[in-house]
Amino acid sequence: MNHSNHVVSSAITAESIADSSVVAPETVAQYALGLGDDALVLAHRLGEWIANAPELEEDVAIGNIGLDLLGHARSLLTYAGTAWDRSEDDLAYFRDEPEFRSRQLFEQPNGDFAVTIARQLIASVYFAELYRALAASDDPTLAAIAAKAVKEVDYHVDHSLQWLRRLGLGTELSHERMQRGLDIMWPFADELFQPDPFAAELEGIAVDSTRLREAFDALVPRLIVDAGLEVPTGAPAQGGGRLGRHSEALGPMLAEMQVLARAHPGAIW
């Protein structure tokens, strides 16, 4: 038997998983839905920067990072949808705000560029830890999506870190605004490490997000201090995104994201 063929024939379909026979078990689908919503909401927020970033290279960088996240969202939502016979588009465009499971960090408005970089720093380090752990999942589809995603989010960590340093160690104004960005976004970091409501039933399949906090805490505060900034001390935000509780920012964002698909159901372009 050809060894390489063996490897490839065991490959997992995920993006076109709707055409395959793989169906996510209910609880796995619920878990994947939460992860998919996180990626989708942040991808949309980053898309809002296109043509508005401080320089052309940043338009491209932020756009590419958003595109990677959109890829993760498509795979995760497609997989989740197999449990309910719903497509990725059904899930993205035809659910209302309380049905979205994204954690609240991702929906926070872009603010100025430093605010976005603060959100990217927290999000990218979290995603890197999450996907590194999820790549070892017993669920082969989740493992395949994560193994691909982790290589991409490593670049995202690097991007946010370079800007954190440049702004933190830059001018008085850039330092002040980077600090303000961190102060705004920091309260939303805590929710990322709260227990995922579906993970408890999925030992070996889902990642226990409470266990990601140690790696985050060992890295991010040091990066902030190295950039000449202070680790914020604000109290954590209320959280509850996984239960469909959101800040006031998500509704208007979804309205813009969903309006075209809802005005022209079934349209393709």
């Binding site: 050809n2 490839v8 395959s20 991007h159």
Partner: protein, 171 residues
Amino acid sequence: MNTELLARPRPETPSELAVWDLAATVVDPEVPVLTIEDLGVLRRVAIEGSTVVVDITPTYSGCPAVDAIRDDVVAVLGAAGYGNVVVRTVLAPAWTTDWMSEAGRAKLEDYGIAAPVSRGTGGTVNLGLGIRCPHCGSMHTRELSRFGSTSCKALYVCQRCQEPFDYFKEH
């Protein structure tokens, strides 16, 4: 494992090999000097009953070229008389630039895009000696932006000939 075997798992039966060779003529719409075989994007060809199944893998999760490549594979095989073609997208094993063929790397350089350095999945260690300018060959180059015109490329500039160029970043 032999990286080349993993990168280009050509089928063994003559009928499947014929399909593979046709599918292997499809080029990446963003980098038209590279075929999907050069890239390691063509993953598997199988004939299952009356259906031809072709597996491709995206370079990046969100790569929009996947849809174009899928359509092109169906079109090329359709023109050769294969009516019932299913193109599947597979995510595992995750694509890496180490799967790019030597011929592909040479074509990339000729096209003006610096080829990716090795990530070492084939056993060698990347010493990170820098990125060579595809125009003048100088190693005296500088990264302008980690993110370039497509997901898979970064933007560099040569300090010697002053020309900007794309670098197909290692992944």
